[in-house]
């Protein structure tokens, strides 16, 4: 497959807050091949969105953010780029889909303007050609009657339609990487599926890599090649989708899976919930960050932070994994 499209190494993002420095992303490493789909899962506050925006370089010029580590997108060091180089990259290299289509479109701009300005920013084309491209984009994301829709304002479209426009906007310059940050969270359940199917189809058609961020494992299931589970700013488990869903090793990943309502279970059963709240990232706990909420916690978990240890492609940051492979069980616990 050659060189990976995206390589993130030991990336940290520290935000200056009124209470002190908040480590939203803490030493994250990951890589993504061309055309690959990576799911990043975690509850709110786990650092997924900050991670996504940092990978894109959106926090680069923000004085409140202290970034360290490296992000290489297609061989270029994102965190070292000048603002103008970043702007040239946003669009043709990487695009972003946002959580809430109600707020991601400017209420005073027509649908067409959103697309036309994106096209003309990166391509030397006439207005007429750009409008033509905008119509094609609307058609591509499955908006009926694009000629009428292009002149409408965002508030005249339904939520699902708006999210399609947001997707069209992100794809206007055919990025190699699309970051979808909770693309369906704000939508009706029936529309969620349509949007996910659309993203699937477009990924196939355009051959781009996708990072799909969600708090919902159900969204990621069956639509991703790899999944990374985030907790407290760290990746606690990463594996190819199949082995993560079949045999999660981190107690947090396993608890998340147990919290998905299933049609197979007995009716009127209480959903398994994870008690407690995520750790305070201004003053993170010294040992494993999940220790306070973990059912299988041992004494040393509270002292010794576990490292992300790989067994092949399956990485887990836990001293006492739930589904240890026989070959590595003794190895992992003895190591640390």
């Amino acid at each position: 497959m050659g060189r990976p499209l995206l390589v993130v190494e030991n990336l940290s993002a520290v935000i200056t807050t009124g209470r002190g420095p908040l480590t939203a992303v803490d030493g994250v490493s990951l890589s993504l091949d061309r055309g690959e789909v990576l799911g990043i899962v975690g509850e709110s506050g786990s650092g997924k969105s900050v991670l996504a925006r940092t990978i894109m370089g959106l926090h680069c010029s923000d004085p409140r953010f202290a970034l360290s580590g490296t992000v290489k997108l297609d061989g270029r060091d994102v965190l070292g780029l000048e603002p103008s180089q970043l702007r040239a990259m946003w669009g043709p290299e990487v695009g972003m889909v946002f959580q809430d289509p109600m707020t991601a479109l400017n209420p005073v701009k027509r649908v067409g303007t959103h697309l036309v300005e994106a096209v003309r920013k990166h391509q030397q084309v006439t207005r007429r050609d750009a409008v033509g491209q905008a119509l094609d984009l609307l058609d591509m994301v499955g908006i009926p009657d694009p000629r009428r829709r292009i002149n409408q304002f965002p508030h005249q479209l339904s939520g699902g339609m708006r999210q399609r426009v947001v997707i069209a906007m992100a794809l206007a310059n055919r990025p190699k990487l699309l970051i979808a940050d909770e693309p369906t969270t704000a939508l009706d359940v029936t529309v969620q599926r349509q949007i996910l199917d659309l993203l699937d189809r477009l990924r196939g058609e355009l051959g781009m890599a996708v990072i799909m961020i969600s708090h919902d494992l159900g969204v990621v299931a069956g639509r991703t090649d790899r999944v990374a589970v985030m907790y407290g700013g760290e990746i606690v488990e990463t594996a190819d989708a199949r082995s993560l869903f079949d045999a999660p090793r981190h107690p947090y990943a396993s608890a998340l899976l147990a919290a998905i309502p299933s049609l197979k279970g007995a009716p009127h059963q209480r959903l398994a919930a994870i008690d407690g709240t995520p750790p305070d990232l201004v003053m993170p706990p010294s040992g494993c960050r999940f220790a306070a909420r973990c059912d299988a916690v041992h004494d040393d978990c509270r002292v010794q932070p576990p490292q992300l240890i790989f067994d092949g492609t399956h990485g887990t940051a836990c001293h006492y994994p739930v589904n240890p492979l026989i070959s590595t069980a003794s190895n992992t616990s003895g190591d640390t």
């Binding site: 959106l58 707020t103 991601a104 209420p107 994106a118 339904s158 009706d188």
Partner: protein, 349 residues
């Protein structure tokens, strides 16, 4: 056309069952617009009526006697009574008001009751252009200054430039306009000799000369307005810049200047535009201090001079015109909300 729309409505999730037909909505929209127009006109009438009545009542409380102004010193009691009778000053207040209202309704604002007995409408038409020009120039300059200042400030919110701009706007706001005017005269007119003071050149005497004379008074007005607009616009811009659509615009590679003017300014300008409308109306009627300072023949000078001589007919007429402009300006501001935010428009597309 109708079929097409209905089909699309059914396609848009959620609104399928509730959406009325296109024709019904269009009819409802037309009716709503007609009704709003009626309400507008009725409001205008009510405002003008109350303002003129109020002015009339207030003027009768001032004990400046136009008869004394006309006769000067050393008149007899008989002369005095005759003049008062002649002016109709002995009639009951309401009767005088009704008389005045009757002719005003026909567009006749009467003639000044003190020498040289000029027609009131003529006097207003001579003074109004000065005030309107001053107000427009002042507000225009204020916009020119405040938009970049507010953008700069909001973009670097909390930074050093922002703090300097905030301190600057606060100090300007706390300086009374007569002092600001005096300072400007002292600096730019007396000191550097760039601009004349206490002269006015009418627009028909040439645009250059006119603007040259209008610059200092307009700048005096613009100072306070700039400070006010900058503060309001800055805080709204800061809110807007937090919006997702600003991030979305950045994420597709748009530059900072484009984002500021094309994405952030319009959604942030509601409060500023409202203030602008109020300022414009206020400035046209009551830039008395600035007019006095620069000896300009504007509306403020006209009203104050008339009130001092007890020339209630002139005051009445001027106040009526000022009120009319006030209401008209604010109606325009209301209309502009539809441009600023398409969601305010009655959609019937």
């Amino acid at each position: 056309m109708t079929n097409q729309s209905v089909k699309d409505d059914a396609g848009a999730l959620g609104s399928a069952s509730a959406a009325p037909s296109l024709r019904a909505r269009r009819r409802a929209g037309a009716w709503r617009r007609t009704r709003r127009l009626f309400v507008r006109v009725a409001e205008l009438m009510a405002v003008l009526f109350l303002v003129s009545l109020g002015t009339f009542a207030l003027l009768s409380l001032i004990d400046t006697d136009p008869a004394v102004t006309i006769l000067g010193e050393g008149h007899t009691q008989a002369d005095y009574e005759a003049v008062r009778e002649d002016l109709g000053l002995n009639d009951p207040l309401l009767e005088r008001y009704a008389d005045w209202l009757g002719s005003a309704a026909h567009g006749d604002l009467g003639a000044s009751i003190v020498p040289p007995y000029h027609d009131v409408l003529d006097r207003i038409m001579a003074a109004l252009p000065v005030s309107v020009e001053l107000a427009l120039l002042g507000v225009g300059m204020a916009l020119l200054f405040s938009i970049p200042l507010a953008m700069w400030s909001a973009y670097h919110a909390g930074g050093r430039i922002d703090r300097w701009i905030s301190a600057g706007t606060f100090s300007v706001l706390s300086v009374p306009s007569f002092l600001a005017g005096l300072l400007l005269i002292w600096l730019l007119s007396n000191g550097l000799g760039w601009f004349p003071r206490a002269e006015w050149s009418r627009l028909d005497e040439g645009l250059g000369a006119n603007l040259y004379h209008a610059f200092l008074p307009a700048l005096t007005i613009a100072l306070a307005e700039t400070a006010l607009l900058t503060r309001v616009l800055r805080s709204d811009l800061i809110t807007t810049l937090q919006e997702d659509y600003i991030l979305a615009a950045r994420a597709k590679g748009m530059g900072t200047v484009h984002i500021m003017f094309s994405d952030a300014l319009r959604p942030s300008s509601f409060s500023a535009v409202t203030i602008l409308g109020i300022s414009l109306g206020r400035l046209i009627g009551s830039t008395v201090i600035v007019e006095y300072l620069f000896a300009l023949p504007g509306m403020g000078t006209l009203v104050v001079g008339a009130a001092r001589t007890g020339d209630y007919v002139t005051v009445q007429g001027a106040v009526l015109v000022i009120a009319l402009i006030y209401v008209a300006t604010n109606a325009l501001i209301d209309l502009s909300y539809g441009y600023l935010d398409p969601r305010v428009r009655r959609s019937h597309a």
